[in-house]
Symmetry: C2
Subunit: 110 residues, 2 copies
Amino acid sequence: MGITKTEHFSEEQNELAILAKAIGHPARIAIIQHLIKVNSCVCGDIVNELPLAQPTVSQHLKELKNAGLIKGSFEGNAICYCLDEKGFHKIRGFFNQVNTYLENKKNQCC
Amino acid sequence: MGITKTEHFSEEQNELAILAKAIGHPARIAIIQHLIKVNSCVCGDIVNELPLAQPTVSQHLKELKNAGLIKGSFEGNAICYCLDEKGFHKIRGFFNQVNTYLENKKNQCC
DNA sequence: TATTTATATTGCAATATTACGATATAAAGA
DNA sequence: TCTTTATATCGTAATATTGCAATATAAATA
C-alpha cells in the first residue's frame, strides 16, 4: 500500500515521525550540517555544496521547512535559510527520554 | 527517480540518515516508546499494542533492528526485544551538535 | 521595460515504502 | 510425532519518495 495508518497513532507519534523522516535523507543531513557551519546561506550556496540539481535541492529545502527544521527569509531576490529551533526542540524531548532511559537501564535485558 | 545518491554523501551522513529514517514512522516511534515503558517484550505484545497486522509489525521490527536501534534475543520460542544503545548513541552526537549550536546562536539571523 | 539572477513548481520516470494475506519456519508442549 | 504458538518471509497492490529537465515566478539591475 505505501500508505501509513496515520490516524491510528497519536499526534505526538506522528509529529515525531515527520521530523525524523525529514532528517532521514543524506542530502538533508548535509544541508543541516552546512547551515550549522555557515550559520545561514542562500539556496544557491547549497546547490553548489551538494551533488544535486537545483530543483532537487529546492525540494529538500521545502521538506525541511515544512517539518519546521529550517526557515527562510527573503534577502533581495534570494532566500536566506537557517535552522529553525521549533522542529529541533520538538524532537529533542524524545531523544532526551530515550537517552535517560538507556543510561539508567544498564543492559539488564536481551 | 526514488533512488538516493548515497555514494555522493559521507559515510557519516548516510549513517545518520538511515537512523533517522528508521525512526521516521509512527509505528516505529510507538515501538520505541513501548520498549521504554516495558523495558523489553516479545513481538506478540507489540502486535497487540499496535493497530497493525503481525507481518507489518515484524517488518518494522526488522527495520529498527537493521538500523541498530533495537536488538532481540530468543526466549523459548518467542523473541525478546529491547532498545539497542548502539544506534541511539550514534545519532545522539548529531543532535548534541545541533542543540549546542542552537543554544549559542540566539537567533541572530532569518 | 528587458534581461539577469535566484528560487519554486510541474511533470514524469525510476525506485522505495507500507501493509497484509498466505505461507514458511522453528521451538514448546501434548 | 502432531499440534500449538510465535515469528519471519514471500508476493503483491497501493502509495510515497527521489531526482531532474523544462518551465514558471519574482526580485534586481541594466
